[in-house]
């Protein structure tokens, strides 16, 4: 299970990379593995405001449709339009080419509600039992 140590994580298996007041988010390796082949991503619209842990996108796989939640509150500044034609990028490269959205972070203090890589690793291990 790939868990990069420079990211923050949610219990719903989203990740966010915080750089200044911008965050890039996507879903984790655990999530893409559990979903299986991703067939469609509803890409969040630019300028939309999102709240922490509220729905930011919908992902469909062959198996099911799942809601994706925003790790932090903010405004969407960019979405990954590559996913429209190639949603399998989420399976192939969930932390890099399969990113979902960039947001302008509203309140960095919300970071306290997220896990670092060590805590997330433990959280995922706990799910397996």
């Amino acid at each position: 299970m790939n868990i990069p140590n420079n990211l923050c994580f949610t219990k719903e298996h989203e990740w966010i990379k915080i750089e200044g007041d911008t965050g890039t988010m996507g879903i984790t390796d655990y999530a893409q593995h559990a979903l299986g082949d991703v067939t469609f991503v509803e890409i969040p619209k630019k300028d939309c405001e999102v709240k922490q842990f509220n729905i930011i996108a919908t992902i469909e796989s062959v198996k099911a449709a799942s809601d994706i939640y925003s790790p932090l509150s903010g405004t969407i500044t960019l979405n990954n339009s590559e996913l429209e034609n190639n949603p399998a990028l989420i399976n192939q490269s969930c932390y890099d080419q399969g990113w979902i959205a960039k947001i302008k972070i509203k309140d960095i203090a919300e970071k306290k509600n997220l896990m670092d890589s060590t805590s997330y690793q433990k959280f995922v291990e706990g799910l397996a039992h």
Binding site: G36, T39, F40, E60, V62, K63, P87
Partner: protein
């Protein structure tokens, strides 16, 4: 209740786990859902050949005259004209015409039959057969000790004939009892994928040998129930418990061609009555206009009016769009625009014919 402890393993479960398959409960069994991915396994079955562990399904053995035993009344398809060595898709119905199960009847001899049924329905099917067969009819349920592997795909014949030469001559929906890795087993040219394919029956103790033998051939990939579900949906085949059940009749489900109205069978009166009164709902098939997929119990809308429910839906890797089937309270025309979804979203779709995937190797 912890349901995981009650899950049954097939004789091949350990193999699947060692190959890294994702396992999940299905009909009370611990089954492989996928190995490397549902889409790859689906594509491989249509292009090449895949092996599926289908040991969970049930089998009954019956000995008796087709009519005097009561079997002809239980099975809604014709039995009298079924040749020895041939098999036929059919259903068993309740008095109201509802489908208790769908199945395949194998005629092993003039008065010898094998019935292959769904895993989740074994006990209720058994009760139905025992209630309606005459007491002198021989009935046996070897389900717990009999396994099955499906080998499906355009290359399945060339794989099988390397160690089961008789498989080469099997015609569509026929079977033989032949030597399979030094045991006499049933091999039929049947399947649930729409491709050229075979089902191999063997005792639980022998099925591992057959599985290993198949996978020795580098052409053969193991595939899970996820791919099997996509493959059957691309052909428009019903899944019992999801698309059909005891509240749905074969007429509503579009399965009338499998019913023999010339003979007497359980549920016939109800079906004739339903024919006369007209159908309150009908099966239909549809394609999404996008990559979004319909899901079980999504609602169906015609011009924003709710007219039915989705029973099965998925993403078709061959058409690269969502596909589904469901019931509508009114007749729909091919090409008619509908939408599916829930309170949050409605997705555009178009009514179409089945099968969704037209050119396959099934009759090769």
């Amino acid at each position: 209740m912890d349901t995981t402890t009650a899950l049954k393993n097939t004789p091949l479960s350990a193999f699947h786990e060692s190959l890294g398959a994702q396992m999940a409960p299905f009909a009370g069994w611990n089954m492989p859902i996928q190995y490397e991915g549902i889409i790859n396994e689906t594509l491989a079955t249509r292009k090449s050949v895949c092996a599926f562990d289908i040991c969970h399904m049930g089998e009954f053995l019956i000995k008796g005259h087709y009519k005097k035993s009561g079997l002809d009344r239980i099975i809604s398809a014709p039995l009298e004209n079924l040749a020895i060595g041939a098999c036929r898709y059919s259903s068993i119905l309740n008095a109201e015409g509802g489908i208790i199960d769908d199945l395949i009847v194998y005629r092993k001899g003039l008065q010898e039959w094998m019935i292959v049924i769904n895993a989740a329905t074994i006990e209720k099917d058994k009760a139905h057969f025992l209630k309606n067969l005459t007491p002198e009819t021989h009935f046996e349920d070897p389900s717990c000790a009999l396994g099955k592997i499906d080998l499906q795909g355009p290359l399945s014949r060339s794989v099988l004939e390397t160690f089961i030469p008789t498989a080469k001559n099997l015609k569509y929906f026929t079977f033989c009892e032949t030597d399979v890795c030094n045991e006499k087993n049933i091999v039929s040219r049947t399947g649930y994928t729409g491709e050229l394919g075979f089902e191999i029956y063997a005792s639980d103790s022998h099925i591992q040998t057959v599985w290993k033998k198949l996978l020795e051939n580098k052409l053969v990939k193991p595939a899970g129930l996820g791919a099997r579900d996509v493959l059957r949906l691309e052909m428009g085949y019903s899944l019992y418990g999801q698309d059909i059940d005891e509240t749905i009749t074969p007429l509503e489900a579009g399965l009338e061609k499998f019913i023999d109205f010339e003979k007497d069978f359980i549920g016939k009166d109800a079906l004739l009555k339903q024919k006369k009164q007209g159908l309150k709902r009908q099966r239909f098939f549809f394609k999404s206009l996008s990559r979004r997929s319909p899901r079980h119990l999504h609602k169906i809308y015609l011009k924003n009016r709710e007219i039915g429910l989705v029973t099965s839906g998925t993403f078709s890797p061959h058409l690269e769009c969502g596909i589904g089937m469901g019931f509508a309270s009114q007749a729909l025309e091919i090409g008619e625009n509908i939408s599916f979804g829930d309170e949050r979203i409605k997705i555009e779709a178009v009514v179409c014919e089945k099968p969704f995937v037209k050119k396959t190797s099934i009759k090769n």
